[in-house]
């Protein structure tokens, strides 16, 4: 397998966390992985995106020009990356903040009102985990439990208390996918 992912949104939406979590979890599934963060023009409150590659084979270029999956969490990211999906690839859109006009042809468009749902869950910042739940379900990367197992490596110390909510959000995503598709 080789899965190339672009995640994009603005700082604070947990884009980087999402990417790292995927790379980390899949590394422990004995895959080759690479993760590239890229901060947008503004380092504060600006856009951010990352490239993740998960592969059975050694990875030469860690850069994703043609993605198997693109996840966009806000409008500017949608405009910037919607055409980076390979033909037949997957485009996941956070419809709470993105109006997916002129979607590219020949890709699978998945609309997830992640921020709204997260807001309803009490924390807009959980949108990334909702997306993860959906994404993993669609692509079947691995058992969601593997992501749960990975969470403590990222959310240690004072942040530990956020682990349950994160798990819940992933579950919410899974559920959402299952009920809507």
């Amino acid at each position: 397998m080789k899965e190339k992912i672009i995640c994009a949104g603005f700082g604070g939406q947990g884009i980087m966390f999402l990417g790292k979590l995927v790379a980390f979890t899949m590394m422990h599934e004995d895959k080759h992985v690479t993760y590239i963060p890229s901060y947008g023009p503004e380092m504060r409150g600006g856009t951010a995106n990352c490239n993740v590659i998960v592969s059975d084979d050694e990875i030469d270029s860690p850069m994703v020009d043609e993605a198997d999956t693109v996840i966009v969490m806000n409008q500017p990211s949608y405009e910037k990356f919607k055409n980076s999906v390979r033909p037949g690839g997957l485009l996941i859109v956070n419809t709470s903040l993105v109006n997916p006009v002129d979607p590219p042809e020949n890709v699978r468009l998945l609309e997830v009102p992640a921020t709204r749902i997260a807001n309803e869950m009490g924390n807009v910042r959980l949108a990334n985990m909702i997306i993860l739940g959906v994404y993993n379900k669609v692509r079947g990367l691995t058992d969601k439990q593997k992501f749960f197992d990975a969470l403590p490596s990222f959310l240690g110390g004072k942040k530990e208390r956020f682990i349950p909510a994160n798990k819940e959000a992933v579950n919410k995503g899974v559920e959402l996918y299952e009920t809507t598709s």
């Binding site: 790292k20 790379a23 980390f24 590394m27 080759h32 992985v33 690479t34 993760y35 590239i36 963060p37 890229s38 901060y39 380092m43 030469d60 270029s61 860690p62 850069m63 020009d65 043609e66």
Partner: protein, 351 residues
């Protein structure tokens, strides 16, 4: 055990494992993780971490620490490295060991914080004044970064010369699995020049000032002879599928990785393409490169700059084969796709 680490973190850990106990640095993106890692780890290993008031202070602290016999280093990114040039020239002129990491970003001026390779000239030709050279190492994976930074300390001690490592914003901030392998400790020449107080021995002086011209010339000759030895012994490079290649892609660091990816695609299309990756940018692998390119029909140099290493390729290849160049600037990274396109164009139009 594999760990998922950023290049910056992994190289910092590797430096500590190489015995670096004195780190002096000033924050700058995209190398901040390196400094932060050192801040966390140095106290744990009994080392010294100082966030200096500036890059200039940092390099001069390194000079002092090296003079006292400590394994010392600093790190920065492009503008900060420019500020260190006087200090690097002093360290070279003093014949002191030092390791300097440059996590290159877009320039000139303030530029941006995206990856770039615009500091090649500065690194290989000495951005500072006078006749000296830094040994320049260019890793292309996080794993290799951890190995080269360890080599850097050994090379610095072996030759009493500054060693620069050219990383870039991508190399520094990307995460890859990395494994720290225990290394046998290299045999090093005794540090018979360091300052410890003159107790029980002749007094020592470390300096680069020789007011009498013949003395400074003699000192320069010693340095030049040393540099020639380095040129003889320390050249490193990697080749991939160059044996039957018609076109040799030449790139270092990040550009080498994307070139390899491009090579795969091109080979799949039946194009005979190989990759030559200089690992030491100084000493540059002139001879090896010239031999590789002579066997092929042309070379394509890929850089994240307006074309800097390409000059060294010219010096190596001379007029024997046509040399093409593909460069991106401003923090743009030439993608495998772009390299493939450029190569295809060469195959169809120029060969």
């Amino acid at each position: 055990m594999k760990q998922l680490m950023t290049g910056n973190d992994a190289m910092a850990e590797a430096a500590i494992q190489a015995g670096c106990r004195y780190y002096f640095g000033y924050p700058i993106t995209p190398q901040n993780e390196f400094t932060a890692y050192m801040a966390r780890r140095m106290p744990q290993v009994g080392g010294v971490f100082i966030q200096s008031e500036s890059e200039i202070a940092a390099i001069n602290m390194v000079m002092g620490a090296a003079a006292a016999g400590g394994r010392a280093m600093t790190s920065s990114s492009s503008p900060g490295i420019s500020l260190k040039q006087e200090g690097i020239s002093y360290i070279a002129g003093d014949q002191l060991p030092a390791v300097i990491l440059n996590v290159m970003r877009g320039g000139p001026g303030l530029g941006n914080i995206a990856p770039a390779q615009g500091d090649y000239f500065q690194a290989t030709r000495g951005g500072g004044h006078g006749d000296y050279r830094c040994i320049v190492l260019a890793p292309s994976t996080v794993q290799e970064g951890t190995e080269l930074i360890q080599d850097a300390f050994d090379l610095a001690d072996k030759y009493r010369n500054p060693v620069l490592i050219l990383s870039d914003g991508r190399m520094g901030q990307m995460m890859e699995p990395v494994e720290f392998k225990p290394r046998p400790k290299a045999e090093m020449p005794p540090k018979d020049y360091i300052l410890t107080g003159k107790k029980g021995r002749e007094r020592r002086i470390i300096r680069s000032l020789y007011l009498k011209e013949p003395e400074l010339e003699a000192w320069n000759k010693i340095i030049q002879e040393k540099l020639m030895k380095i040129e003889e012994n320390e050249v490193r490079y990697e080749t991939r599928m160059v044996e039957d290649a018609d076109l040799v892609l030449i790139g270092y660091g990040t550009c080498a990785r994307n070139s390899k990816e491009a090579m795969r695609t091109l080979r799949e299309k039946g194009r005979k393409v190989g990759v030559f990756r200089p690992i030491t940018l100084w000493p540059f692998p002139y001879t090896a490169l010239s031999e590789v390119v002579k066997k092929a029909r042309a070379a394509l140099v890929v850089e994240m700059s307006a074309g800097q290493m390409v000059e060294d390729v010219y010096l190596a290849v001379k007029d024997t084969r046509p040399i093409f160049f593909y460069g991106r600037m401003g923090g743009q990274v030439p993608s495998a796709t772009e390299i493939v396109q450029k190569a295809e164009k060469i195959f169809t139009e120029k060969l």
